[in-house]
Amino acid sequence: MIKLAALVPLFPLIGFLINGFFGKKISKGLSGTIACISILASFVVSLLIFMELNHADNKSQIVDVFSWINSATLQIPFQFLIDPLSTWFLLIITGIGFLIHVYSTGYMQEDEGYSRFFTYLNLFVFFMILLVIGNNYMITFIGWEGVGLCSYLLIGFWYKNTAYNNAAKKAFIMNRIGDLGFLLGIILIFVTFGSVTYTDIFVKAGTVSTSTITTIAMLLFIGAMGKSAQLPLYTWLPDAMAGPTPVSALIHAATMVTAGIFMVVRSNVFYSISDVASETVAIVGVTTALFAATIGLFQNDIKKILAYSTVSQLGLMFLGLGVGAYSSAVFHVTTHAFFKALLFLGAGSVIHAMGGEQDIRKMGGLKDKIKITFITMLIGTIAISGLPPFSGFFSKDEILAHTYEHSKVLWLLGMITSMLTAFYMFRLLFLTFYGKFRGTQNQEHHLHESPASMTIPLVVLAALAVVGGALGLPEFWGMENWMSHQLEPIILRPNFSTLHHETEWMLMGLAVAGALAIIYFTYLLFMKNGFRPVDREDQLKPWQKVIYNKYYVDEIYDALFRKPIDFLSGAFHKFLDIQFIDAIVNGIGKSVTVIGNTVRLLQNGSIGFYLVGMVMGVVLIILLTFLVK
């Protein structure tokens, strides 16, 4: 089966082509089905590959497709690498992807861009698969930019709305900034190792000076920042919520945004060698986590809250990477994929029920109206807040444990983040589902549970969110951490926790206690005292206002980059180009006429003058020739 790895990306591609060319002609149902089937097919294939690999003793197998770019020493084959990491991500992508496709068939039912939606979605899956399956940085880069394109297309899916288009453009350009770093990183890798193929370079990594490695790692990390919405390149992700909710779930929660983590894990060799780089990763990660979490506290748009929580969760993952807990990070990616997708889809279902309303201030008391959604979202919320035995608990705890090992400060920040997470998630939950309905009349009796096509994925994901933790049970419970063993082959320095079991228990206890305390506090705040977020911004205290406005980061970026560039653009064009360079060119042209008009005055028609001119000429010549020596 591994030999046929090409099938994995092939199916979505086929789906994309069919929907792309004939989407308008065939019925909605058909195109939806085609899309789902194509993904399912590649899920099945990946599953087979996964199993085969588990039994194979060669844990990294290369599948050649065709040779792509050759330039002397630079050989870039179109080549796939099948190893635990890629297969695992394949499973996540195709699996979750499939569920979300199914969900979308229901969610997008009324949209006229139905087939277009699935076209993009399939294309996305195709690129995402390329991203994880490629055996060299170029293939990864293809996927990298490809998913960027798809997120651009999907964010701007409702292209009539300019705000959405801007969001899409912002996402694409922000990603491009990261991509430049990534590309330069790749080039540096080529310049250093003479190859960009994973299987070639990682073995040589030891032979190169650490400083070079650091540079490479940094450049790559810039790429990761862009893709995985880390400071300072995170601002596109919240705006990206403009896209249809399934998109948010698939791209901006489960898969694409974790590409950064994937890439860092993939290049863990570099990061393990360069402490500077990994320190940076950790710090950036934890800062982002905290920063985003605080913003999350004051958001009222249900999707925005989830978006910021995604950012902060990604931050946590990078924290994990930074402290060298690669497997834990992957583990968290997995669980996060489960519960965050779940939450988004749930939110989607809520929005669906509310007829497009996204402001939690206008919701409330929905828990009886839409039971399944409520329960599943409850599960998701608990999972993300990190209560045992739900999946989030294990993965987050693992990361924090490793962090504690690495540095207490980072650990503390991590803790705070996770508590904040618990707060805003439960705030969301309470405001949405409890209390009494705050929406309009017709919204109220329009409320209804979503169709099965939407609820089933919710249920499945909920189940996964519950049991997902089993993938990486803590070792000190005397159980084997499947995930870390799974990833051992591809990780240079797998670090098993060296803490005393007491400490680990203590940490775990702290985490749980903290979470519970926060939840109780939230309960008091919103259920007992029935606290409601203010309706108008000016009722906020100044410091709240700052946070509410996301620390004005967007405005700052505008002032720092967009406006100056626009200004420069105008200035260059008007002053430098037209009034200076071109003016010089034209000036030379004009000077001809000017000189000509002066010279022609010599030709004044009087013989006497002409002769004088000639004689003067003679004088001059004689002078120069004979007397000036």
Binding site: R600, Q603, N604, G605, S606, I607, G608, V615
Partner: protein
């Protein structure tokens, strides 16, 4: 030395005459006089030619002078013809009136 007179003398003399002629051509506006000045220049040259030919004891120089004379005559003839034609047209031979063509 030509009969006790240094060739430099002749050189200077004819140069001076030549230049006087040139100045006349430049300075005067009366066309007739301009022609005469040209004749003067040619004569200066003649003088020089003869001087050199005597110096070299070579009669070619003097023969050449004949040709110069012929040419001078021809030029004068043509010149005066043009002159008369101009006079016919503008009733004047002042060069200041002959500046239609300029720039």
């Amino acid at each position: 030395m030509i009969n006790g007179i240094s060739i430099n003398m002749y050189l200077m003399l004819s140069t001076i005459l030549f230049i006087i002629g040139a100045v006349g051509v430049m300075a005067r506006r009366n066309t007739i006089i301009i022609f005469m000045c040209i004749e003067l220049m040619l004569n200066a040259v003649n003088l020089l030619m003869v001087a050199f030919s005597t110096l070299h004891n070579d009669s070619n120089g003097q023969v050449f002078v004949f040709f110069i004379m012929a040419v001078a005559a021809a030029e004068v003839a043509v010149g005066l013809a043009i002159l008369s034609m101009i006079y016919r047209n503008i009733k004047s031979i002042d060069t200041d009136l002959l500046t239609k063509l300029k720039n």
